[in-house]
Point group: C2
Chain length 213, copies 2
């Protein structure tokens, strides 16, 4: 469950997709460039007016076929999110600190490496953060868990008050919680039925599950 092996990527409608953002979206301070061709991530970012915090995700396919575009994108990001096998592919470092260091040198001030059910690790201006996954009694389908994680994280960053650096750890916890709901159903089955109270309850539970002082 902890890694994805790409057998085939069917881009489908995304193959010729060239999104034009409506004016109302162009001045959003928070931009999440979810996993898609880096050239399209550039295309979207080009339409944004002075965003405050830009995050991108990626996948092995783009490391294989669009690395120059991706490397250019990294210089335009505040945060880069990728999974551990992609971090290894990008840096050839199997030690997480060595990999994080190399990725920082490519541009982003915040780097988050995802490790599936083992959680994730952040490296940023405030140091490192070991973020737990929310442990599940039953996993139905982990598809979309990474997207849910970064989506939940951005939701908290965009709504909570205070500097990014002070709220990003808690934002990642929200990400873990949203990802946990994603895994409890196929597609958006479970995700679309989450209540705010259920999210807050799992955030509290993660605090209880990890405290030791």
């Amino acid at each position: 469950m902890n890694n994805r092996r790409t057998l085939l990527t069917e881009l489908g409608v995304f193959e010729t997709f060239t999104p034009t953002l409506p004016d109302s979206h162009r001045n959003s301070p928070f931009v999440l460039l979810a996993n898609i061709a880096p050239s399209l991530q550039h295309h979207v970012l080009n339409q944004m007016q002075r965003p405050k915090f830009v995050v991108a995700d990626t996948m092995d396919l783009w490391l294989n076929i669009a690395l120059p575009d991706l490397l250019k994108l990294l210089k335009r990001l505040d945060a880069f999110v990728l999974n551990d096998s992609e971090a290894y592919q990008l840096t050839t470092e199997d030690n997480v600190f060595a990999a994080l260091k190399k990725i920082h040198k490519l541009g982003p001030k915040y780097v988050i490496i995802k490790k599936g059910s083992h959680g994730s690790i952040l490296s940023g201006p405030g140091g490192f953060f070991i973020c737990p996954a929310y442990p599940l009694h039953r996993v139905v389908d982990p598809t979309g868990a990474g997207d849910s994680f970064v989506g939940g994280m951005m939701g908290h960053l965009a709504t909570a008050k205070g500097p990014i650096n002070e709220k990003i750890r808690r934002a990642m916890i929200y990400g873990s919680v949203v990802a946990s709901f994603c895994c409890e159903g196929f597609g958006l089955q479970r995700t679309t039925k989450i209540t705010r109270a259920q999210i807050e309850q799992r955030v509290k539970e993660l605090a209880r599950l990890t405290r030791f002082l």
Copy 2:
């Protein structure tokens, strides 16, 4: 680094080892039956006078060749420590909660599943605890990390005041820290040079690395 595959186990001097404990050791309240043949773990435990807290570790070899002895031992334990692949081998459950539940039914009130550099998880009377591993910049040799973990944990349980249930989380953190030192050298190279201050410093660092409230 996160799992051990046993190619060959040379028991060597342990093959005919039948330890007789000195009287001074027989009334220790804390007993750690480290990984060895379950029949020898029974033999040691038989010599103890009313221990307060008995913990055992094991390995895949004993699950393969001495399962009945091991199952009898489980009924005599307070806590059982094993790694995730062994938990799977014992229970055929790949969900950690399902595996923990089955192992509790075999006897121990506390069950700890170790996951290498991904940390460990406790299930006990006080609920679950997600225990982080101490992240290392350089791993020299993970041999003995599991023994160091449970040894560090027992050291804290045996010296700190208060009920087991209230101190076991912190004890596991000490275990993670001692295991981290073990991985920084071959054999006992690094372990024998740890100072108390270095241990306390890493415990504090783990608190900083995991806090999000």
